[in-house]
């Protein structure tokens, strides 16, 4: 395939007037769910977090589960794009753009939850350091403040990395646009990119340096999310394995989402010659590797609890394994540890149906894992007098489904308005073959 054909095909997908019937149906469903989320947010602002099933002792539940789940899904995008860029893995070119877009969409969804969970979300800006006449400063030792810095930085860096990376592609779309409106729209985004030799070198320097900073950033952000828990003294949370365990879990669920999105885009736009079975195979291997680390994490948690002999730790683990929410633990193990073992077989890694089933299972499994980690530590802590159950309300379900709708809406808008694959990188790869 020639460099010209790559450019024409991918820019053509962006410039096509109609997204197709499938796009509209998905968009309508996602938009409906997003509207439902918006209604949920309005009700939450009016009536408070009491509309959720949270109460003492289980004061964290669906909202924090959704937050951790979505931010984890976002991790794989930056990882695939940045870490594989630094290690010069050329195969990432076919995946990097939609993986980065997935990160942005997942982050946008994720960032909503800690704010909504505050109780008085309109005071969210109090966790920022700013000079005010009340002399109010954030509590720097609070994980909530760390979250603000981590998520804020992650959002800004991801947006910049995503945007800078696609400047040449936006220029390619601009040059191919036929209507005035589109020419102006893409010209504004491309900021006059011409493919000048010095610009290419500057661009390569910047993207390499951004990738070099993005990799430690994603690891720090997910470690920060883990510190939200391990900083607390609750049995089941207060664990040093949490940061690497959360990072592996984030990568695990993120890759599952990348696989699902890659398969969908491949089918919708006939991109089989870019996103090939080899790409899916590599993603499946990565997912299997991350899954093995996650499984190690489950085993280590149980082992250290019993080996350490702390009665509260062992009690929490016992509750996880046999208590009221034991079904979440065993479903997690089945979906995240057992089901992925199929991926040891090359035939399974190249079978679309298997990949869809395993990846969907991993996404569900990771949500259940976050829920299990949060709720099973909270519902049985040190004092039996403060034990209690958590039952989700309809609003919990509304926020979960609504978040999926918002993610879908944002991703579908990306597919419709921006180049779905990294044109410039693929052009280079194709030409050098």
């Amino acid at each position: 395939m020639s460099a010209a054909a790559v450019t024409d095909e991918i820019a053509g997908i962006t410039l096509r007037r109609h997204g197709g019937r499938g796009w509209w149906i998905l968009f309508a469903v996602s938009l409906a769910l997003t509207v439902m989320l918006a209604v949920g947010i309005v009700v939450l602002l009016v009536r408070g977090v009491g509309i959720w099933g949270i109460d003492m002792p289980v004061a964290w539940s669906f909202a924090i589960t959704n937050y951790v789940w979505w931010i984890g899904i976002g991790m794989a995008g930056t990882f695939i794009s940045a870490a594989l860029h630094l290690t010069r893995q050329a195969w990432r070119s076919a995946l990097s753009r939609h993986a980065e877009a997935m990160t942005l969409c997942a982050l946008a969804v994720s960032g909503l939850f800690p704010v909504l969970h505050l109780g008085r979300p309109w005071f969210a800006y109090w966790i920022m350091p700013y000079p005010d006449k009340m002399g109010l400063w954030p509590q720097w030792r609070s994980a909530l403040t760390w979250d603000f810095f981590a998520i804020g930085t992650y959002v800004v860096v991801s947006v910049l990395y995503f945007y800078v990376g696609q400047l040449p592609d936006l220029a390619a779309v601009r040059d191919r646009a036929t209507t005035r409106g589109r020419q102006v729209f893409y010209a504004l985004l491309a900021l006059g990119w011409r493919g000048e030799a010095a610009d290419w070198r500057r661009h390569a320097t910047l993207t390499r340096l951004l990738a070099a900073l993005a990799v430690p950033l994603v690891f720090s952000v997910h470690s920060m999310v883990a510190l939200d828990f391990s900083e607390g003294l609750l049995p089941g949370w207060h664990s040093t394995i949490f940061p690497p365990f959360f990072v592996a879990g984030a990568l695990f669920s993120g890759i599952a989402m990348v696989i699902l999105l890659s398969l969908s885009m491949r089918r919708a736009y006939g991109l089989d010659h870019y996103i090939t079975d080899v790409h899916l195979d590599k993603l499946a291997r990565l997912m299997l590797a991350a899954g093995c680390v996650v499984t190690y994490g489950y085993a280590a948690e149980v082992f250290t609890a019993y080996y350490g002999g702390d009665p509260f730790e062992t009690a929490v683990i016992a509750h996880r394994l046999h208590g009221a929410y034991a079904w979440t633990f065993w479903s997690t193990v089945a979906l995240n540890s057992v089901a992925i073992q199929a991926l040891w077989w090359p035939a399974a890694r190249r079978n679309r149906l298997v990949l869809v089933l395993v990846s969907s299972g991993v996404l569900a499994g990771m949500w259940l894992e976050r829920f299990m980690l949060i709720v099973t530590s909270l519902y049985r802590d040190y004092l039996p007098s403060s034990w209690g159950m958590f039952y989700p309300t309809v609003w919990d379900i509304v926020f979960l489904l609504g978040s999926i709708g918002l993610f879908g809406t944002l991703f579908l808008l990306f597919v419709r308005w921006l180049p779905v694959l990294a044109i410039a990188e693929l052009r280079r790869t194709e030409a050098s073959r």
Binding site: G135, W140, F149, D175, W193, R194, A197, T205, S220
Partner: protein, 171 residues
């Protein structure tokens, strides 16, 4: 009509590099090249040099600044939580680390755009086939403000490169 320069399209990467070398030999010095991907031999060596130092400086400023801000506010507005020390530096690292990366990235992007001087309009966009640069075209622009520029001679020099096509760029 004033002239901005002359745009020349060469058939491939190697011939573009050769054309630039040839024109430099003739005495031209104000040239730009456009390609669908990075052509290492054509990029000026100093391009992109300012990016890394500005990122380092901004990153250090962000990290040290955030650490200082946290110490300052912990002492100026003390919050006694369970008798813990006010300036507990391990707890100050997370925010400082994130701001280090944030400042470095923003500085890098600013330095990049400062160097590449974004503009929505450039005279060469008026040549219809300039869009080939974002497809598979290898283009060369001789600026009319080149000391060696002469409208007729430059057209003749361009022709002698055996280009795919060449055209005058109106200012």
């Amino acid at each position: 009509m004033r002239t901005y320069g002359r745009l020349i399209q060469m058939p491939d990467e190697a011939s573009l590099v050769e054309a630039v070398r040839h024109l430099r030999g003739l005495g031209y010095s104000r040239m730009e090249t456009f390609a669908p991907w990075s052509v290492e031999a054509l990029a000026p060596r100093r391009a992109g040099r300012g990016i890394a130092p500005s990122m380092l400086a901004a990153g250090l400023l962000g990290g040290i600044g955030t650490m200082a801000l946290q110490y300052l506010s912990a002492h100026a507005y003390p919050i006694d939580a369970g008798g813990r020390p006010l300036a507990s530096w391990p707890a100050f690292v997370p925010a400082a680390l994130e701001v280090t990366i944030l400042f470095a990235v923003i500085a890098g992007v600013v330095a990049f755009f400062a160097g590449s001087r974004p503009a929505l309009y450039r005279p060469e966009f008026n040549v219809e086939w300039f869009e080939e640069a974002s497809r598979d075209g290898f283009l060369l622009l001789i600026h009319a403000d080149d000391p060696y520029w002469n409208e007729h001679r430059s057209a003749h020099d361009a022709q002698r490169l055996h280009p795919l096509r060449h055209a005058e760029v109106p200012a």
